[in-house]
Structures are given as C-alpha cells and as structure tokens.
C-alpha cells in the first residue's frame, strides 16, 4: 500500500512539475545577470571561455565552496573508512592486457589532463574535468597492480598546497586593496595562453587539488580490507 501511495504521489509530482514547466519562459530566458556578464567578460576578465570567467571570476566564491565540499567529502570518506588493516589480504595482479595497457595509457592520460587544465580559459574544459582525468591516470596502475602501495601523504601534500595556492591568490587580491578572489595581473590579449590574468593559475591549482583528492579517494575506496 505504501508503494502505491508513493507511486501516486510521484505521478502527481511529475504532472504538477510539467504544468509549472509550461509557465517557464523556455527558449527566451530573461538573461539579466548573464547578459551583463556576456558583454563585460571580455574586457573585465579577458578569458575566451566565458563559463570559466564566470566560474573563477564572477562566481569565484562558489568555486571555492565547491572545492572545499570535495575536500570535505574526501576527508569524511577518509574518516569513515579509516586506515588499512595490517595483515589484510591483497587482490591478485590484473591480467597482462591491463598491466601493459595501464603502462601505455598513463603518460597519455597525464598529458591530456594537463592540456585540458591549462586551456581551461580558452576552450571548454578546465580544472574539474582535467583533475578527474589526472585522478584516473594515477588510479590506472593501481587497478593493474592492486598491491602497489599508495603514497597517501604525498597526495595529501599536493592537495593541501594546491588548495592553499587557490586561497592565497584570493587573499593577495584582498591584501592589495581589492576584494577577496579578485582576478589580478590584468587581462592580457584575448585567446593567447597567458591571457585572463590569474585564472589559469587558479585553474591549475584547482586541477591539481581535484586530481590528488580524487586519486586518494579512489585508492582508499578500492582497498579491499580497511577498517579500524
């Protein structure tokens, strides 16, 4: 009976949401804040990819909150899963295909990851997407040989310093009279690699942080036997 009632409610919810969706101005949105950003992004931030301008420039605080959430999730996961038991059994190594494939793919993945991070302000992509690819790159050898010890202290070092770099660049703007997370170093010429001031630096720090964090997260999740 409970299932029937909840199905009924779900159907009702769907119908009502569709009715409300009909009232929404789809196709001709009142682009109020977005319109102002589109006009002034080129000269205020100087990034070709306006979404990156919004992510790191206009709404920098959101992104700071965002990477902190990821950090909190990773810290929470580490807290919950705890350290690895000493004598825990190890999984056998993967088949030869995966081992050689992993060895081949690793440098490619790292290259693609850094490419996406560094061109975040020019082409679609950026810190998050590049960071995930880096994490996958570091996790692949672990899949191939589950036994390889994971350098958790190293990962948390990278993660901590990258996060600190992100916040310090924001604070530098504050200390030199501007506002917190204000893009510095001018805007440079649109479209070139070194344009949009501190945005590339921020995205690089962000990419490294996300990459190290997720690599640690995946390694901890993949460990067969952890508790305490």
């Amino acid at each position: 009976m409970r299932n029937l009632a909840s199905l009924l409610f779900a159907g009702g919810l769907a119908f009502l949401l569709m009715a409300i969706a009909a009232l929404l101005p789809f196709g001709h949105p009142p682009v109020l804040a977005g319109g102002a950003i589109l006009e002034q992004a080129a000269d205020q931030v100087g990034a070709a990819n306006i979404v990156t301008a919004v992510v790191l420039g206009y709404r920098g605080l959101d992104t700071l909150g965002e990477i902190t959430i990821l950090f909190a999730a990773a810290a929470g996961l580490g807290l919950v899963l705890g350290r690895r038991r000493a004598g825990a059994p190890r999984d056998p190594d993967a088949g030869p295909v995966l081992r050689t494939g992993a060895a081949l793919m690793f440098p490619l993945l790292v290259l693609v990851g850094f490419h996406i991070i560094l061109h975040g302000h020019l082409t679609p992509g950026g810190g998050f997407q590049g960071g995930v690819i880096l994490a996958a790159a570091f996790f692949l050898p672990l899949l191939a040989r589950p036994g390889t010890p994971v350098d958790h202290p190293g990962l948390s070092l990278v993660e901590g310093t990258a996060g600190a770099v992100f916040i310090v660049t924001g604070l530098v703007a504050l200390l030199t009279g501007g506002e917190f997370l204000q893009p510095l170093l001018g805007t440079g010429t649109l479209g070139t690699l070194f344009s949009a001031g501190t945005l590339p630096i921020l995205y690089l720090a962000l990419g490294l942080k996300v990459g190290a964090e997720l690599a640690g997260l995946l390694a901890r999740l993949a460990d067969a036997e952890t508790d305490t």
Partner: protein, 157 residues
C-alpha cells in the same frame, strides 16, 4: 497546459529524471538503489538548471569562435551546474563509503533491517532494557491500570 514541441521534450527529460530519481529514493528498499536514485535526481535537477539558460539558435559562450555576443547562451547556469555535478558526486562518494561501513557493521543493505538494528544498538547504548519498553514507560510514570477483565484473563505470571 503542457509545454509543446522541443521544450516539452527537454522538460519531460529533466522532470522525468527528477521524478524517477525521487520515486527511486522513496520506493527502493535496498540502500545501494537509494544512492543510485539520488544521483539520478541530482542529474535531473542539473538538466533543469541548464535549460534555464538556453535560447533558440543559441551558441556556446566561447569567444573567438566568430559567433556574435547576442546569440550566446547564458553562461551563468552552466557555471552553476558545473558546481552542482561535482557536489553530487562528492555526496555520492561519501554515501557509498558509509554504505560500505554500514554493510560491514550490520551485514545487510535492507533499509528496514538496518533501521531495526540501529535502534536496537542506540537503545542498548543508552541502557534502556529493550524488552521492558512495553510495560514500564520512561520515568516510572504510573501506567494506566490494565482493566481487571484483561488482567485475570491474561493470567500473566
């Protein structure tokens, strides 16, 4: 009453995902399914948010592609969805870690059994004797007198 044509499709997709996700959370008994349904619901909400910025014949908000500024789609919701997706995955990872530890602690993923064992543990930790919950309510308040007929009929020792 209903949105027509292309908008109907997009909204149907977004709201469909949202409602399937919500009904998944509400209906499923297995904890793993609930976490999956939560991810679906998040995806639905993200799609709804991106739809808020699209307009007919819009172009990607990337300068230097030769597109005019007026035709560009609103970049703000895309920045929001970027954040929302990563939040969703963050919560999902934490949820799965908790599910793993709950599975190891209680050996099951069925919500009903998990709830019963949790309540049993909380009562044990607080020191409430489980079996006495029926006859001796908290704080020694006088329980309403059992009508004489039951008492004699029941014949409890």
């Amino acid at each position: 009453m209903m949105p027509a044509g292309l908008p109907f499709l997009f909204y149907a997709g977004a709201i469909g995902l949202l409602v399937i996700g919500i009904s998944g959370i509400v209906l499923s008994r297995n904890l793993f399914r609930i976490i999956l349904a939560l991810a679906l619901a998040e995806a639905g909400a993200n799609l709804l948010l991106v739809l808020a910025g699209w307009h007919w014949g819009g172009s990607a908000p990337i300068l230097g592609q030769g597109k005019a500024l007026e035709t560009m789609v609103d970049p703000v919701p895309q920045a929001l969805v970027l954040t929302a997706i990563v939040i969703g995955v963050g919560i999902q990872a934490l949820a799965l870690a908790l599910a793993v530890r709950a599975y190891r602690a209680y050996g099951t993923l069925d919500m009903r059994r998990l709830r019963n064992r949790m309540n049993r543990d909380i009562a044990a930790a607080a020191g409430i004797p489980a079996e006495s919950s029926r006859d001796a309510p908290a704080g020694g308040r006088p329980t309403p007198p059992v009508p004489a007929a039951h008492r004699s009929g029941g014949g409890r020792a």
